[in-house]
């Protein structure tokens, strides 16, 4: 496994060469890799050992004491041979004291009890302790619904409090950083956030001050926890102590519909869950993929989705006539575009296509170009976006599907933008189809666009020169469509539609499919995105022998194929 981010710890992944050992788990002998953490051992056999401070990717703190279990070792005789019972099974010596599962590793012969009387008593004890100083303001807490304190209180607690003393008072609504609010009274001092900040985000500005029951999580005065990964602490905080300013109070989590997808803000393609309700996206949270982002995502990616609900979005097809915008029926808009595209000689047409499109969309663009070109290559280019790789997750390439565009054969990685500009100026290119890109962004300004005879713009939020477009086609955002993309490491991953397009906007593959039909490709009608993918896999050898269904939630590694083609 090789996530793009280097986690300092991987307690859930035993070393590859680890031999198997026999352990007795609640009476059953099972085989597990030697050295595997007991929380993970239990998990592999469908048992859950509750835990707060343990996180598979952070150092072990062992402070919450929620994961206590009963441990035994085989009884040895004088010759250090295991003593066996009548049925030839080793006799177990149970330790009188419970042990913490998070800091215990499987060894040969170890016996584990996860639900004995002692274990239950330990769990009840810890739950009661954690709740005595907890404000219990669940009705107004943002974590309600995904709070481990609330969940465990039902599952492992006694459901009553015997605490009649005054609770410890601590700061509330602390500004933890530009994107996070901290409620110290809710904090259970598990130190997950501190360990994350130190070990992964490498921004050591948070810590505990004071002592004992008065211990308080704090940001060093005058500093802010503004790491681009800060919001991961909100995810890993087992309670509602850390809340995202962006998401706080916006929506109860149990109302959220969840769709698995990927982040499209850079070429890393962090796996995410899109949380939405009634066609509004409320938040993105990372989804575990050990090949990509492990458990994390960056704040920019997480918060970068708000544009999809922008008021400036084009939500219906339209045409420009004498400077005014007229809404069109889709059929009419598409017919006009198809007709126009067919009117120009192929050498006068250019496609400015976004590397933020899915492979399926790019494939349809490619087919459209081939159909129109009738043997002549149609000019196409993508707009490259350069950022700075941060050594953690973020890639220098801010387009999520550059590898897909290259693999499918759209554009030349942006090397021909100047050429495109010159060709339009020189009226060598007279018809431009911009898909999810604004040519203004790369210096193809109004004056240059003026020399075009026909300009189609398809996308979400138009640029300042959009009035130069003859036809506007309303496309879909990443949250509104399904499809695949290839990330920087050559992994083919899926997006899943989470919400419907606003207004009359349409998924881009449907727009492109209809154009294809109109320019005369009739042999195949794509009903579903699967059909597009499967057709693509037959025609483009990069996708050979893949089908939509074989690309699972965690994607498929195409790096070897890409390397063979010098794309990686």
């Amino acid at each position: 496994m090789s996530a793009l981010i280097k986690n300092p710890f991987n307690h859930d992944l035993p070393p590859l060469e680890a031999p198997l050992v026999n352990v007795q788990l609640d009476g059953q002998w099972v085989k597990v890799p030697k050295g595997l953490n007991i929380i993970e051992v239990a998990k592999r056999f469908g048992k859950f050992i509750p835990h707060y401070c343990y996180h598979p990717k952070l150092s072990i703190a062992g402070n919450c004491r929620m994961c206590l279990f009963e441990m035994g070792m085989p009884k040895l005789d004088a010759n250090r041979k295991p003593v066996v019972d009548a049925e030839e099974r080793p006799v177990i010596n149970w330790l009188p004291r419970p042990q913490i599962a998070c800091a215990t590793q499987a060894t040969e012969g170890m016996a584990i009890r996860t639900n004995s009387k002692l274990v239950k008593d330990c769990q009840e004890g810890v739950m009661e302790f954690l709740l005595i100083n907890h404000p219990l303001d669940c009705p107004i807490c943002d974590q309600a619904g995904e709070c481990r304190l609330q969940e465990y209180a039902y599952d492992f607690g006694k459901g009553r409090s015997r605490f009649v003393e005054e609770k410890v008072k601590k700061p509330k609504r602390v500004d933890f950083g530009p994107r996070i609010i901290l409620d110290d009274e809710r904090c259970i001092l598990c130190s997950r956030c501190i360990r994350f900040a130190r070990e992964i985000a490498k921004q050591d500005v948070i810590g505990f001050v004071n002592r004992g029951s008065y211990s308080t999580l704090t940001v060093y005065p005058g500093r802010v926890f503004d790491s681009n990964y800060s919001l991961n602490t909100v995810d890993i905080c087992p309670v509602g102590a850390l809340t995202s300013k962006d998401f706080r109070f916006k929506m109860r989590v149990w109302f959220l519909r969840e769709a698995k997808s990927i982040c499209t803000e850079c070429a890393t393609g962090c796996n995410i869950i899109i949380g939405s309700r009634e066609n509004i996206v409320y938040r993105l949270t990372p989804r575990v993929n050990e090949e990509v982002n492990s458990h994390w995502m960056c704040d920019q990616g997480r918060l970068g989705f708000h544009y999809i609900h922008s008021k400036k979005r084009v939500t219906e097809p339209a045409s420009h006539l004498n400077g005014s915008l007229f809404p069109l029926e889709w059929s009419e808009a598409l017919r006009t575009v198809a007709q126009k595209l067919m009117e120009f000689p192929p050498s006068e047409i250019a496609f400015l296509v976004s590397a933020r499109l899915t492979c399926e969309e790019l494939y349809l663009v490619k087919k459209l170009m081939e159909t129109l070109g009738k043997g002549t290559e149609i000019f196409s280019e993508i707009i490259p976006r350069k950022g700075v790789a941060d050594g953690l997750l973020r890639s220098a390439d801010l387009n999520p599907n550059t590898k897909g565009a290259i693999g499918i054969g759209i554009g030349k990685e942006g090397r021909r933008i100047e050429e495109l500009k010159n060709k339009i100026r020189a009226k060598e290119i007279n018809c431009l189809f911009a898909i999810h890109e604004n040519p203004e962004e790369v210096g193809i300004q109004e004056d240059i666009l003026s020399s075009l005879s026909f300009y189609v713009w398809q996308g979400l939020i138009p640029g300042p020169a959009v009035h130069k477009a003859n036809i506007l086609l309303a496309g879909a955002s990443f949250a509104e469509k399904s499809g695949t993309m290839i990330n920087i490491a050559g992994r083919l991953q899926k997006l899943h539609k989470a919400i419907l397009c606003p207004g009359r906007a349409r998924e881009d593959w449907r727009i492109l499919r209809d154009l294809l039909l109109l320019v005369g490709v009739k042999e195949r009608v794509f009903e579903k995105i699967n059909d597009v993918f499967d057709a693509m896999s037959k025609e483009i050898d990069l996708f050979e022998s893949l089908s939509w269904n074989t690309v699972g939630d965690l994607g498929i590694d195409l790096s070897q194929k890409l390397k063979n083609r010098s794309i990686l």
Partner: protein, 456 residues
């Protein structure tokens, strides 16, 4: 006549004219044992310590030789560190103070020998912050020792090199716990480490093998090397060898520190003869035998003590508190422990609920706050006792106190969990009637002196 003390560690400490100067120490035979030790192979010293049966004087009574044997010097490639635990933080204990303030060179000599035996070249004395004067004395003594080449490079021409530095704590009891001490010395909050995996002998200071020993323990090492392990083992009783310094405080006429061979004196002899009896002619009510974390013992209770007979078998004999000999094992057999040797005495006028409240406040204040049961439980127990002592007791409180304590002990990162729950468990168990009376708000206890004159 009270039994005479046998002063081994405190031999010179209170002699008139005996000072902390190195010359004074030298004129009393100081650093001679070091010379002898440096001529011995290190493993032989470890062997002598094993033979001596020496048990740690810091609280747990762990055999020192066994502890030293945990480091495999054949395989180990990392540096080894020796840490002297001079935190002396267990309430009721004030023995290490006597050594540091009155005979610092004895400690240094013991440390150099111990460091040599354990192949350590860097050692620290972790001294509690309040011993500001003690730290000064040690700094000066170390400088003197360095000057005379008992420390530093090529000590006494042996080729052995050692540096010892003093590190001052700053008022945190938990720094007495050895892994808390290590974290503190590393410049962090004194959060005790989880064991496994962080056993000091494996992953101690700077993640290297580390030996942590109490001040008194390290001094004993000097005497073991001097007289030989077997000879030393003759002092005291089997498995309870050597002398111990018993620190007596509370309601006796002559509180103080008294050194005796293990098992040579009983509680009765110590309190009535050596310490001149209970103050004001009062009656003995309770004794905390090994620092405030030890379970309290009730004076009028009989304890079942296993005794080895001539033929090797053991029998259980009933003993009153006063007849129990002071050592490790017999005191442990009462269900309590001799711990750090801090004996706190309470007479019949004392309100045991108040006493427990005082102890509980200590532990609530000193919990490092790292792990849930201790952090939350210690303050909860303190708050309950505050309430009970200020008239808000409820009949169910005794049971609740016990249950809270039971939910702490054995479930925490470090033994502080036991340290804070044992007093609660034992006070409530031993003196249940006082708790109940208070919770019923009965006035029959008014003869008891309030411990605290809390006017506010």
């Amino acid at each position: 006549m009270a039994k005479a003390e046998y002063r081994l560690i405190l031999k010179h400490a209170d002699e008139p004219g005996y000072t902390v100067d190195i010359d004074c120490y030298l004129s009393h035979g100081g650093y001679q044992v070091l010379k002898k030790a440096l001529a011995m192979p290190p493993d032989q010293i470890i062997q002598e310590v094993k033979i001596s049966g020496l048990r740690g004087r810091g609280g747990a009574g762990f055999p020192t030789g066994v502890k030293w044997g945990f480091i495999n010097h054949e395989k180990n490639t990392k540096p080894v560190y020796l840490l002297c635990n001079a935190d002396e933080s267990e309430p009721g204990t004030f023995k290490d103070r006597q050594i540091i303030y009155k005979d610092p060179h004895q400690l240094i000599e013991g440390m150099v020998i111990s460091a040599y035996a354990n192949r350590a070249h860097l050692a620290y004395i972790y001294i509690r912050g309040e011993f500001a004067k003690g730290a000064e004395i040690l700094e000066k003594a170390l400088a003197e020792a360095r000057e005379r080449n008992f420390l530093g490079k090529n000590i006494l021409g042996s080729g052995y090199e050692l540096e010892i530095y003093v590190f001052r704590g700053a008022g945190a009891y938990i720094c007495g716990e050895e892994t808390g001490l290590i974290e503190s010395l590393e410049g962090k909050r004194a959060y005790p480490r989880i064991k496994p995996p962080y056993f000091p002998a494996v992953l101690g200071l700077y993640m290297c093998p580390t030996i942590v020993n109490n001040v008194e323990t390290l001094c004993h090492v000097k005497h073991i090397v001097e007289m030989g392990g077997a000879e030393y083992a003759r002092i005291g009783t089997p498995n309870n060898t050597g002398t111990r310094i018993w620190c007596v405080s509370g309601d006796v006429n002559k509180p103080g520190y008294y050194e005796y061979p293990c098992g040579a004196i009983t509680f009765g002899e110590l309190l009535y003869e050596v310490c001149g009896g209970i103050r004001n002619g009062n009656k003995l009510k309770a004794v905390i035998p090994g620092g405030s974390s030890a379970k309290v013992l009730r004076a009028d209770k009989k304890y079942k003590i296993p005794k080895k007979k001539e033929d090797g078998s053991t029998e259980i004999v009933e003993m009153g508190l006063e007849d129990i000999p002071l050592d490790f094992d017999t005191v442990a057999a009462t269900g309590s422990m001799s711990g750090s040797g801090g004996i706190i005495v309470m007479d019949h006028t004392r309100d045991m609920v108040e006493c427990l409240r005082n102890i509980a406040e200590f532990y609530a204040h000193e919990s490092c706050g790292q792990c849930t049961p201790c952090r939350e439980g210690s303050l909860w127990m303190k708050k309950m006792l505050d309430r009970i002592c200020t008239g808000g007791g409820r009949p169910e409180d005794s049971k609740l106190l016990l249950e809270v304590a039971n939910h702490i002990a054995g479930r925490t990162i470090c033994a502080f969990g036991e340290a804070c729950s044992w007093p609660v468990q034992s006070f409530v168990e031993m003196f249940g009637e006082e708790f109940e009376a208070k919770q019923r708000k009965e006035s029959s206890l008014e003869i008891l002196e309030p411990l605290t004159n809390r006017t506010a």
